[in-house]
Amino acid sequence: MLETIKLSKTFKEKKAVDEIDMYLDEGESVGLLGPNGAGKSTTISMISSLLKPTSGDVKLNGKSTIKNPSEIRKVLGVVPQEIALYEELSAYENLKFFGKIYKVKKELLEIRIQEVLEMVGLKDRQKELVKTFSGGMKRRVNIAAALLHKPKILILDEPTVGIDPQSRNHILETVKKLNEETGMTILYTSHYMEEVEQLCNRVYIMDHGRVVASGSKSELLSILSTEDTIQIQLSKKSYPLLESIKGMEAVRRVEETNEGIRVISKKGSNILSDLVHAAEKVDIQIIHFQMEDPSLEDVFLHLTGKTLRD
């Protein structure tokens, strides 16, 4: 349905996006993950026709959208990171304005406004000015405004940043519903791995303007299929123990966590007895340990060397 072919954007000397190949099939929900400055927003701006690529192409159903963006604009709903609304207008007035300029037919517009307000749970507050809303409510109206013209593809750029849990859950449920019940294609970027895990069938991981990995959750987790993760709780912190574990042949990484340490080792290396010995040597007691399944967060860390919120 929608694909990018070697999509690149250079600002002066800096390459913000570097030859990205992505695709979205109809009805799919795709996540776009990456740390700050990875190039996610620039990619979204190019896909949504707001920014002209330096090179490469964006195709909708096989047709390039670069020269004539009107086709993609018709089928695209974009929820930007910012609250792209008029704060001085009410939720209803905002939606009416955007509905009109989306050229939603007059007789349908009123119905559509009520539908999207119902979707985002703000039907009762529609007459209130946006500036009086909480951050979460504003983000919900922000989503509603992108849905007025019934887009086939919805792009959401970190729609849950800085909001209360209630609004966050509401937004996630709304997006899930849109994808599952109406077959809307979703491209979702977020800092929250669990949101992407919950919502998306496939994930693209970006870093330094490039896609460093992509695939379904299981495909991405298989990247870490050669590793075991052990979470260990210790009686006290010990630098010599940390160094001793790092020096073990089967150990790939050791991280300090709030609970103790996290050891990533070669799959099937059975280092537990070595760990116990090492602890005894420095007179440290292992209070608790647990073998962990790798998460997408681990995959992200493995690929980019940093956490999502870095």
Partner: protein
């Protein structure tokens, strides 16, 4: 386009601070300036008591006879001679000066006594007179020969005083205005009509030209402040684009596939309506408070409305241009600075702070070509002359400005979001 217009009007209306600034500030300034400064522009001669001696050395009858003889001796046909004499029969320079001082309104300020030159000098020296006016011998003949026969006058009216004073300045100004009004009368040929019209005399320092009304300080300040704040309206509306750009509302608008013309025209029309209303409200309240335009005809008000409408249209064009500049500039502070600079320059040159007559001639010419300067001048002329013919060209120029600004705005409007 209607949606954009409605949105822009609503956004402006909901910003109470902007509304208050746009509507209240010009009115407050008009009130304050009227109270604080009107004294500077009104005649302070009423409280003056100027003592002036009249030294009349001229015998006007002799002068007239001498002039008649001179005309008869000239190599002209009889009809021409009669025409000249007919014109001079109603023009007696010495008598006009005497009757100027006899005018009851002038008498409230200037008190005269006929004295000889020696007495006058003595009284001035003693401080009993502020000055004396000397009508020299042969004055009537010299002035008539100068005006009618284009001969060089060898005598002139003189004012003599011991020292500079406000009284002397006032006397000089009044006399100058009086002489200028006579010169104008003669230039216009009204005296030549032979209808024995008495020239209107200057009143308390105001220059009064027959058929021409003067404008008051209150009128000036009302027009100047209204047009100034209408200029700011262009900036205010254009700067709303900054918020739209910063908060990505503009991107959302682009994504709807709306034509840039609609966006731009929404702002343009909103500015037109708001600046028009702003000027009308300011004029209305000033009229109610100060009776700025007393006893004016319906024709006057219609003319005023036409000028205001044309000016509001120009302002709206300026908004279109400012909006496009804002969208093109990365630094919105720079945009704001540029607009402020443009508007303040226009205000200074156009006479919104002080009458442009105090500016050097080349700046005056530039000022008259600014939309605000042009509108100000046209309205002041409309007050004075009430000649609808004077409105046509300036209105055309203002409309031309609107078209040019709008076209420029459209030409530099960023291309549909892709950059």
């Amino acid at each position: 386009m209607g949606s954009f217009l409605k949105k822009d009007l609503l956004v402006f209306w909901r910003d109470r601070k902007e509304v208050l600034i746009a509507l209240l500030l010009p009115i407050i300034l008009i009130v304050v300036l009227n109270v604080a400064l009107s004294g500077l522009f009104t005649d302070d001669g009423e409280s003056m008591d100027i003592q002036v001696g009249i030294v009349e050395e001229d015998n006007s009858l002799e002068g007239l006879e001498r002039f008649e003889e001179a005309v008869n001796e000239m190599d002209l046909d009889q009809a021409e001679k009669e025409a000249i004499l007919q014109q001079t029969s109603v023009f007696n320079p010495s008598e006009m000066i005497i009757s100027f001082f006899d005018n009851p309104e002038i008498k409230q300020v200037i008190h005269t006594k006929n004295v000889s030159e020696a007495e006058a000098v003595e009284l001035v020296e003693e401080g009993d007179l502020h000055a004396f006016v000397r009508i020299p011998e042969g004055f009537t003949y010299a002035i008539l020969s100068s005006i009618m026969l284009d001969e060089e006058a060898d005598v002139a009216l003189s004012i003599q005083a011991e020292e500079q004073s406000n009284e002397l300045n006032t006397l000089q100004n009044m006399m100058n205005n009086f002489i200028e009004s006579i010169n104008l009368e003669l230039a216009l040929g009204t005296i030549a009509e032979g209808e024995a019209q008495e020239p209107l005399l200057p009143q308390g320092g105001r220059e009064v030209i027959e058929g021409v009304e003067t404008y008051s300080f209150t009128q000036y300040i009302t027009i100047a402040m209204s047009t100034l704040f209408a200029l700011f309206m262009a900036q205010t509306l254009a700067m709303k684009t900054v918020t739209e750009k910063r908060e990505r509302v503009f991107n959302r608008i682009i994504l709807t596939g709306s034509h840039p013309f609609h966006y731009l025209m929404g702002k343009t029309l909103a500015t037109f309506i708001l600046s028009w209303l702003q000027i009308i409200i300011t004029f209305t309240i000033s009229q109610l408070l100060f009776d700025v335009f007393p006893d004016k005809s319906l024709e006057f008000w219609i003319g005023l409305l036409i000028v205001i409408t044309a000016f509001a249209l120009t302002i709206s064009g300026l908004t279109a241009l400012f909006t496009s500049i804002t969208l093109n500039l990365q630094d919105t502070n720079a945009a704001s600075g540029i607009f402020s600079l443009i508007i303040m320059s226009m205000a200074v040159l156009g006479g919104n702070f002080t009458p442009i007559q105090i500016l050097p001639a080349f700046l005056q010419r530039i000022g008259e070509w600014t939309p605000n300067g042009l509108s100000l001048t046209v309205i002041l002329e409309w007050i004075q002359l009430n000649n609808s013919g004077n409105l046509v060209i300036p209105m055309g120029i203002l409309f031309g400005y609107f078209i040019v600004f709008l076209m420029l705005g459209m030409a530099i409007f960023p291309g549909r979001g892709r950059n």
